[in-house]
Amino acid sequence: MNDSSIRLDHVDKRFGSVHAVQDVCFDVPRGSLLGFLGPNGAGKSTTIRMIMSIIYPDQGSISVLGGSALAAKNRIGYLPEERGLYRKMRVGEFLRYIGRLKGMTRSDSRTAAMTWLDRMELLAVDRKRCEELSKGMHQKIQFIASIIHEPDLMIFDEPFSGLDPVNAELMNTIIQELHAQGRTIIFSTHVMHQAEQLCERIMLIDRGRLILDDSMEGIQKTFDPRTIEVEPLPGIGLPTHIDGVAERTVTREGGLELHLNDHVDPHRVMQRVVEAGPVRSIKLRRPSLDDVFVMLVRDRLHETELGTTLPGATP
């Protein structure tokens, strides 16, 4: 039994002189909820399109749901970043059309369309033309279109864009339900806190190379925390200079954030702070995904110049 939903083995893709994807290898176990991140133009869409068998790699192999990507099309749901609906088509008809394309019978696609429209609180728009819908409704219809056929593997590109907080929460709940049903979900986003909140595992791609592939826990362990949060006692301040602290900022609540110099042991700095005077609390702040993203993408620029490799990256 193959436990991989997706396996990429030394996948390489060029478009003329642009090396869009370079020797990428990864394995997505079945039932994962994975964040696929990267800056603009990093190669995410190209990789996703290859997984979807919309385009094919120049080198390497891709296995999707244990076989050929093309054969698995009906078991994959895809929500592209750029939303596309037929303007003149009625909502219900569009969903049934996509269901039929995904191999559903006419009656199954009709039932599923109605069920999902009801679930997404869109039953009233069933007979409306797509051009009459708001941007948020477009987004929800497109989301339904990507899951109407109950795929085993779902790939969502920026699923929350254009949604108000209520609808974003609704979609969040549905994604978690689908995950709980054992479906594999990959989603790509620029909003890091969403990925942090939802994903078990993160992959980061930059300039065609996979530079991070780890669990959220692993990422937080791997990446050296560079900030100490201190809550001083009332009336007792900290010394103006503490060895290893590059900069300090005052939070809105009156606490302090000590930003450390590079290559400084944060535990030594914490010890110095405590020795300098009593404090109410002191803790190391875990790096957010935002911090990791910025750090990695920024450092990758540096690494390219120096020829070094970051932890978790493909060699």
Binding site: R49, M52, S53, I54, I55, Y56, D58, L70, K73, N74, I76, G77, Y78, P80, E82, R83, G84, L85, Y86, R87, K88, M89, Y97, I98, R100, L101, K102, G103, Q142, A145, S146
Partner: protein
């Protein structure tokens, strides 16, 4: 095929079962068809009556004769006479439509109403009369010479000057020219002592009532104009049916690309499946157009008892060359539609192909007049032109096209269809994913070679 079927149906439904298509392609032509029958008559404009005085300098006899002719009842201008001569060759149904009171009696309305007075004046009064013309007091003044009324005037003598006021309509001028020229001829004949009416009756050319003997034993009236029009009618039929759907194919592909539906479709079906579905879907739309317009044409021929002008083999050729033409045009339109993001970019890529494809339209007369001439034979072997030129050749009424040439054209044409569809598929799978600047023709060739 599971994925292709819904694409075919959607493409067909959202093209052929739309108000725009039903109104534009079905209802409007049905209403226009009866109008086309009386179109030549409708083109004869209703114009203002011609009222006023014409002065003739140099011949009282001509002035008198012109006055008499003007007072003859139902005198017709040259234009009206030409129209009536043209109508004489038309079937009875068209003739009756041309004089049908329900249609406003178009023939009668094409006649010019007039109320003319013709006076004569001395040569010395020419300048004064010219001034009267300028002052809009007269319609025209004609200056005749004595030589004009000779029995056998030379070419230089056989003309006269006519001075008309500014803004005189061509129909009015045509009427006056005719009236004065007839008056001059009649005066010449009378001066020679001959009977003009008898002479005119004898000079009237006889009409020819051509009848075609049918193979089954009957005979029907032969309309030369119908035989001449059949090749171009067949070619236009193929042209309209293929280009209408080709155009829909182009615009729907561009729309799917520009509104990003293509990415959704590609997640469900391969580019080849999408392209096939779209092309087959539009093929049905094209067939509807072909059957509708072709059917109307056949009904018209049956109504004129001319159905035997189109033997069964002609219909078979029509279908074969229509299929060939459709897939050639569809492959061009689908390639271009997939490669560009808006119609403006599409025009620049389609332009060169259109220049080639419009050639048969320009060359229809020489090809249909001489279906086995060098021009016809050579152009019928150039792939994109094959179906259009061949349909002109096989429906022309001249020498029959040798069967081997038809066979070669069919084999070559369908081989070209296979190659064009293959190239289209290669371009389509790359083009649908491309956004932004339209590719150059050179880039399209590169796409064909992409892995």
């Amino acid at each position: 095929m599971n994925r292709v079927t819904p694409i075919i149906w959607r493409e067909f439904k959202y093209t052929a079962l739309t108000k725009a298509f039903i109104i534009g392609s079905i209802i409007v032509p049905i209403f226009i068809f009866p109008l086309l029958i009386v179109l030549p008559v409708l083109f004869a404009p209703r114009i203002e009556p011609l009222k006023g005085t014409i002065v003739i300098i140099g011949s009282e006899a001509v002035a008198q004769q012109a006055s008499d002719l003007a007072h003859e009842e139902q005198r017709k201008s040259g234009t009206t006479r030409q129209l009536e001569e043209a109508m004489a060759g038309m079937p009875d149904s068209i003739k009756s439509a041309a004089t049908d009171p329900l249609l406003g009696n178009p023939m009668a309305s094409s006649r010019l109403e007039y109320d003319l007075q013709v006076d004569s004046a001395a040569a010395a009064d020419l300048d004064a009369n010219k001034q009267r013309v300028r002052d809009h007091d007269l319609i025209a003044v004609a200056a005749l010479t004595d030589e004009l009324l000779h029995k056998d005037p030379t070419r230089e003598q056989n003309q006269f000057e006519l001075f008309v006021r500014p803004g005189l309509s061509p129909r009015h001028l045509d009427f006056i020219d005719d009236l004065l020229a007839d008056a001059v001829v009649e005066v010449r004949v009378k001066q020679s002592g001959m009977d003009y009416s008898a002479m005119r009756a004898m000079m009237r050319r006889p009409g020819v009532l051509t009848k075609r003997l049918q193979e089954g034993g009957g005979e029907v009236r032969e309309y030369e104009w119908a035989k001449r029009l059949i090749p171009i009618a067949f070619m236009i039929l193929v042209w309209i049916a293929t280009f209408t759907s080709g155009n829909y194919l182009l615009t729907t592909t561009i729309e799917e690309k520009s509104n990003k539906v293509m990415e959704v479709l590609l997640s469900a079906a391969s580019p080849m499946e999408i392209m096939s579905g779209k092309i087959i879907g539009q093929a049905f739309v094209s067939l509807i157009t072909l059957f509708m317009y072709g059917g109307l044409g056949i009904i018209a021929l049956i109504a004129l008892s001319q159905a035997d002008l189109i033997p069964l083999e002609m219909i078979v050729y029509l279908l074969l060359f229509f299929i060939m033409a459709y897939f050639m045009i569809a492959s061009i339109m689908a390639s271009v539609g997939s490669a560009v993001s808006d119609l403006h970019d599409a025009q620049s890529l389609i332009g060169p192909a259109m220049i080639v494809l419009i050639l048969p339209m320009i060359l229809w007369i020489p090809i249909s007049e001489s279906p086995n001439g060098s021009l016809a034979v050579v152009t019928s072997y150039i792939p994109p032109l094959i179906p259009f030129v061949m349909i002109l050749r096989v429906t022309a009424s001249g020498d029959p096209v040798p069967l081997w040439q038809i066979a070669v054209a069919l084999v070559e044409g369908f081989a070209a269809v296979v190659v064009m569809m293959w190239m289209c598929a290669r371009i389509f799978r790359v083009g649908v994913l491309m956004q932004g600047k339209a590719p150059s023709p050179l880039q399209l060739i590169k796409w064909i070679r992409y892995r």
